[in-house]
């Protein structure tokens, strides 16, 4: 017993926090990736997450298969990301860091409203596939199978992303571009193509986060707003532009929120901000952030 709660309950709550944190990880990874290379803070990231959930609703109705939907959604959302980078964000490079930020902020209004027109303002149901329904015994008790799947899927995706960035030549180009776009240009690589790919990748991952969390959280046009704030908190805690920071901070925030909702439900929403404030006081650059980044 800890604080009047049995260990098993705490362990289950920990897993709930990890599942919640997994969604945060995916969002923060996409945000960080885009920022790291393009120095664009994507204020439409929550809207892309929302697009992912709605694309999920659409494709599962159309394809009838959850797994296929899971593969198609990030591609579809990433394609929207491609268009946005090429035609809206790109004209703003070199005009100051605030402009892409404000543009994506305005874009989020447009995306949310378009979805509202197409799908209505009401929430949409989205069920987990039958194979992931029910609960699994994880030693300390029964835990929803779907949430376990979300944790596993996130782990696989983060690992794949890490391998892509660290082990492939294209990943090397991306990492080099993040440090110095000039070097990449000198090597004869079209850096603007790299930016395009990274923006699509980041938004695609946000879309995947949206469809993955659809069965856990409800699907409605404004679902991206809260999530955007959560993603920012995670990014500030973890440190901008750091993959490791996004993973650790995402899980940490998820667990903190989930544990607070057990011990002090009223404070659950506020707890992540308290954590962020603490990090800002002790280590303003974030847990994994580098000092002086973008000074």
């Amino acid at each position: 017993m800890i604080g009047g709660y049995p260990i098993e309950l705490l362990a289950l709550q920990l897993f709930t926090g990890l599942a919640l944190g997994s969604v945060f990880v995916l969002l923060a990874v996409g945000l960080s990736l885009i920022f790291g290379l393009l120095t664009v803070v994507n204020f439409a990231h929550g809207a892309f997450y929302m697009l992912g959930a709605y694309a999920g609703v659409f494709f599962i109705g159309y394809l009838g298969n959850f797994w296929l939907t899971l593969a198609v959604v990030p591609l579809a959302v990433g394609a929207v990301g491609l268009v946005v980078e090429r035609w809206l964000v790109r004209p703003l490079y070199g005009r100051g860091i605030d402009y892409p930020l404000m543009l994506t902020f305005g874009l989020a209004y447009v995306l949310v409203e378009v979805v509202r027109i197409l799908f209505g303002a009401e929430g949409m149901p989205f069920d987990a596939p039958d194979s992931l329904m029910g609960a699994v015994d994880i030693g300390v008790g029964y835990f929803p199978a779907y949430r376990l799947f979300v944790i596993a899927a996130t782990a696989v995706l983060v690992l794949a992303l890490w391998l892509f960035l660290e082990k492939t030549s294209y990943g090397l180009v991306i990492r080099a571009g993040a440090r110095d776009g000039e070097i990449v240009r000198v090597l004869g690589i079209d850096i603007s193509r790299v930016w395009l790919v990274v923006f699509a990748l980041g938004t695609g991952v946000a879309g995947l986060a949206g469809v993955l969390s659809a069965p856990m959280r409800s699907v409605f046009p404004d679902m991206g707003t809260t999530v955007l704030v959560e993603a920012f908190v995670v990014t500030v805690v973890g440190g901008m532009g750091s993959l490791a920071g996004a993973v650790v901070a995402g899980l940490l925030v998820g667990v903190v929120v989930s544990m607070t909702s057990l011990f002090a439900p009223a404070m659950a929403e506020v707890s992540m901000f308290a954590l962020m404030a603490l990090v800002l006081l002790v280590r303003p650059q974030g847990l994994f952030g580098k000092k002086g980044l973008m000074g």
Binding site: R95, L101, F105, Y109, V110, E113, V229, F273, L281, M294
Partner: protein, 330 residues
Amino acid sequence: MSLANPQERLTVSGRRLAGLVSLMARHRVAAVLGFLLIFPFLLPYEALAVNILIYGLYALGFNMVFGYMGVLSFGHAAFFGLGSYATGIAIVHYGVPWLPAIGIGIVAAGLGAAVIGGLAIRTRGIYFAMVTLALSQCVYYLVYQMEDLSGGENGLRGVDVYDLNIPGLELTLIDPLTKYYFVFAFVALAVWLFSRLLASPFGAVLEALRENESRARACGTDVAMSKWLAFVISGLFCGLAGALNAIHLTIVPIESLHYHTSGLAVMMALLGGMGTFFGPFVGALTFLMLEDVITLVTVHWQLFVGALFVFFILFFPRGIWGTLLHWLSR
């Protein structure tokens, strides 16, 4: 010699419009107030005029940090909302008269800005927008939770100030025109103070920070302290706007604290022209008139507002007033 924003520095050319604009730039307080004085007679109904006054003031306060100092905050809803709630709670729960209640609203917003600003200036560059957004969202949740005081989801109701109780004057806010000039009196005072502040040495500090932070530091400016001070002063202005809004609406909707209210300040300031004196009022006027017209036609007015904002970012980042000044000064 002019102490205004460089964009507002115009030589009096032969062109009459340029002459007029230059005259306005030199007497900016008189120009704003003169226009706002006759303003309600130009609009179909006074409530819209009051809205434009209040949101113009809100965008003006925001513009101090965004336009003049060059720091983008996405958390100004917290100060607008805190001003609203503190004033409303003082009136509803503690029966405080309206004048001290407005004072309480301003102080509450200032305190909020002191805390949020104090945390946000510890970060640098692009983090600022993210941290201010997150912290203002935290204020939203806190107020939401304090249902006994704030009314939670339903907002705070019953902020009824009808009789102003000014000795010798029989003024009631039920008359829309009286309400307009009641709000106008506060806005006029705020606009004058704002102009005075811009013309002061601290106004030069704001410009210097926008132009070149590292050079300002080398000249001896305490950058963190100056930013914090500007943030708090900006919060005070936004708090006054919020306090007036509580009295205007007689309720405080929880949306006052929402992310979208922060975004509203950004959109209005940019639409009007960031870092220009008239811009925030031009932006508030454009935005609220458009909202008024478009909502008659469709419920999806956010689509148009979002698209318009994106259009301005791409093609007219100086905003309406800023672009006008730019054209005239060429």
